[in-house]
Symmetry: C2
Subunit: 508 residues, 2 copies
């Protein structure tokens, strides 16, 4: 294998990568900057780029270059090339299995479903969106059907986001989590909740500056990124040199901007640290939804919701926000670790969060299996919240309509990554602590480079070049495992519950 | 001709229009938001979109649909379809004449030239950029050579931007202008200049808000647009529903943000008012550089540099900027109409501005004709500034390196549109005054709708559907003509020079 053998294929992959990067710029703009009048054309522009990209994937020239490279590899094995060819072959086969007709029908359907979803949340009238969700369910089943040999209809949908995960592997993991979490939530939320941080008001520009300051402190590179506001925070990659984050700001709640920025910076630092040699190929991005989320949650939770982090961060924030002057590190630590069952996933604390995810996952399976009708979804949703979290939505918007995923994508495959990410975040963090020693002391001193370096070395740089299972084994010494995560939660929140607010200082 | 006959062609055109819109989003982002690390990938992404677009233009399918539509038109004439087919055929022929090899070489060259230009402006070392400019000159000659039958090498380059204009038509027009302007500049700039507006400082956010307020007042639709800052102000169209403007801000000079916003809003209002029926075709944009510039200059100069406009605008600005409290309308009017020969085109006043353009046009022709060597350009530039404006650049950055055009595009065709725009702005404005009556009174009252409506009716809505010459004749009753513009300047500036500052009130 010489670089020349790979050159024609690499050129095709570079073109696909450029098209994908271009589409991402359009998507970023759609969420961050686009005026209302731009929506219709933007939908068309994105559909056109997606169609061109699909066409280029299915172009016989690409298949020819790939086959030639595979033959050359057989004669002259090379692990790096083998990895690239394996992933390209997988992506090509996935693309080839989905007929252009389905792609076109789904593009039209999802656009309509998204509009109906926005409208239903606004008006409270759910007839239209419910009807369209039936169509989404049918299209999701149809998509799964293009991938024969699956044990469960959801498996091909999950596999798109978290390669290797299946209903059979996820069900016991999620059941174990749920069995532990439901009683913990009940117990720990019964303890009087500590006071939140003072309600401000906090100025928008100051909040954005403070959040960006902390994101830079943990290692987000602004020379290859930027921060903006968006209705729903996200991170997005246009290329290795341009990975952006967004956040949102509430005048009365500083934590919204801080934690969403640190979460998205965790995603972005992953993309910023992928091996430059992989740029311009499908390997140059995070390997799965779950691993991606783990990098975001690790910085958001294991780091930024630790006592040590507030030793570092509180004085910086106090210099910027005089209203925080009287707050102690212990008070701040407790304020950002309140356990309060709530209705909205994206606002949930660490302990209740996974219950939000597991119930969505279970409902997705029931819908796909035909055991739950779309018409019965709102009630099933409400029942499950009552059972798992002891709260019941007042309407549709804080119930089954709260997340966009089903109304802009498929049913199946969208949610498991959030909880896989939480689970993996604890495994990676524990492994880093074993390797680095006293990470807390480093965090308290604002020295984030060792942790970031460990993650870059063991996770980030591989991009998609190392499969998830192997990545986790190599980095942590064992397979994906829920126990380190449960240990983390138990240790942290039992201590907090055992010594409630009054014991450590005056309430805020 | 039925819509069905046109449908296959329209679909192809829609796709091309989407690709062009997507590329424009990437270009906007490059100027407005992109971090430094994104530059390399962005260059590739834009080149990929341009290549795909060129490929789609040359796809035999498009030619087939076009030929079928042309045959159908021959059987069943229809003026609207005839116009569309004429422009599509022209664009296709232009695209087909330029070999992909030249496009690729030029893309690489212009990227290198741009980088060298930025560097030379920074370091003052011009060896590399001068050498690359030789290459640009060669590539420009080569491009012109793909279009046989031209009377002058510059003609095909000019025709790309201002269809129908040629060296033979522009030379006498520009000579007439220069003959009038050189003595006027000498005379009017000898009169003691009125005081500028107070030097502030003006806050950035307040300036942007004030500029946007005035842009909205004249009719820029923010539901289909937005304002950002950029190093060099521009307007850009992604689609009819998304036409954006940019501006720049100086803390000590309010006029920079105000006039650049009103100028770009003039461009944007043109694009926002094109007939929706033309959307998704090559007709759905401004017809030429010259007509586009006329719409920007009309709002910037004929409107916003009039006494009437300041009757409207000054109180609004005074509410926002207390430092303007003591300024009278007459003082403001004079402050924004100072005639001062200067070195930088983009900062020039109305009277000197066209001398900057005409001298660039003349130098372009000399370079293309081989009468001037690139090595002699700096001195030729300096000589001409001394002769026409009585000033001489101190270095390269305020001389021949000041404009980006030659270092990101061709030599030839880039500058004539600015002066054509000034000339046409006066013709259109005079015609609107004849049709509407006392436009000054409307402007003073902040009633811009009649003028905007007249422009939309006679200029904007046609997009590229009406050729420039016919557009000007239909709108103004005569062919493009420099005399109304010279009348406008003479009337306005003779009055200002005849009654200098002291005569109308206390100096600022």
């Amino acid at each position: 294998m010489t670089p020349e053998t790979m050159a024609p294929l690499r050129q095709r992959l570079q073109e696909l990568s450029d098209l994908e990067g271009a589409a991402s710029v359009l998507g970023w703009d759609q969420n961050v900057a686009m005026p209302p009048g731009g929506a219709e054309a933007r939908g068309r522009q994105l559909a056109t780029l997606a169609r061109l990209s699909h066409e280029r994937w299915l172009d016989p020239g690409l298949e020819g270059h790939l086959a030639a490279a595979e033959r050359a590899l057989a004669d002259d094995p090379d692990p790096a090339h083998a990895t690239l060819l394996r992933v390209v072959r997988r992506d090509l086969e996935r693309a080839a299995r989905v007929p252009a007709d389905w792609v076109a029908r789904f593009a039209g359907h999802r656009a309509a479903a998204y509009v109906a979803w926005v409208e239903a949340r606004h008006t409270g009238r759910v007839g239209r969106v419910s009807e369209l969700l039936e169509g989404t369910l049918e299209l999701s089943r149809e998509l799964a059907g293009f991938f024969p040999g699956h044990a469960h209809l959801a498996d091909p949908l999950i596999d798109r986001a978290d390669e290797g995960a299946t209903v059979a592997t996820l069900r016991p993991l999620f059941a174990r989590l749920r069995a532990a979490l439901v009683p913990w939530v009940a117990a720990w939320s019964a303890v009087p909740a500590p006071a939140p941080l003072p309600p401000g008001p906090y100025g928008k520009d100051e909040q954005l500056a403070a959040a960006l300051d902390l994101a830079q402190a943990i290692g987000y590179d602004l020379g290859r990124g930027r921060q903006d506001t968006a209705p729903h925070p996200f991170a997005i990659r246009f290329a290795r040199g341009d990975v952006r984050i967004t956040t949102r700001v509430r005048p009365d709640d500083l934590t919204e901007a801080l934690f969403s920025s640190l979460h998205e910076a965790g995603h972005a630092m992953y993309e910023q640290a992928v091996d430059p040699a992989l740029e311009g190929t499908p390997l140059a991005e995070g390997v799965s939804d779950g691993v991606h989320e783990s990098q975001a949650r690790l910085w958001e939770n294991q780091v930024a919701r630790s006592r040590a982090f507030w030793v570092f961060a509180l004085p910086r924030l106090q210099r910027r926000f005089p209203v925080l002057a009287g707050v102690t590190v212990e008070q701040a630590y407790r304020a950002v670790n309140r356990v309060v069952p709530s209705l909205i996933r994206t606002e949930a604390d660490e302990v209740t969060y996974n219950l939000h995810v597991v119930l969505r996952f279970d409902l997705e399976l029931e819908l796909l299996e035909g055991r739950l009708a779309v018409a019965d979804l709102p009630e099933a949703w409400a029942e499950r919240y009552a059972a798992d979290l002891g709260v019941r939505p007042a309407g549709h918007a804080d119930g089954w309509l709260q997340d966009v995923h089903w109304f802009g994508g498929t049913i199946g495959g969208s949610f498991q990554g959030y909880t896989l990410g939480n689970v993996l975040s604890a495994q990676f963090f524990a492994a880093a602590q074993r390797a680095l020693g006293d990470v807390d002391a480093m965090v308290a001193a604002g020295d984030f480079a060792p942790l970031r370096g460990w993650l870059a070395e063991h996770v980030h740089r591989y991009g998609r070049a190392k499969p998830v299972e192997q990545l986790v084994r190599d980095a942590t010494g064992g397979p994906p495992d829920v126990e380190p995560y449960l240990d983390y939660l138990r240790t942290k929140y039992e201590a907090l519950a055992a010594a409630p607010v009054g014991a450590v200082g005056a309430p805020l």
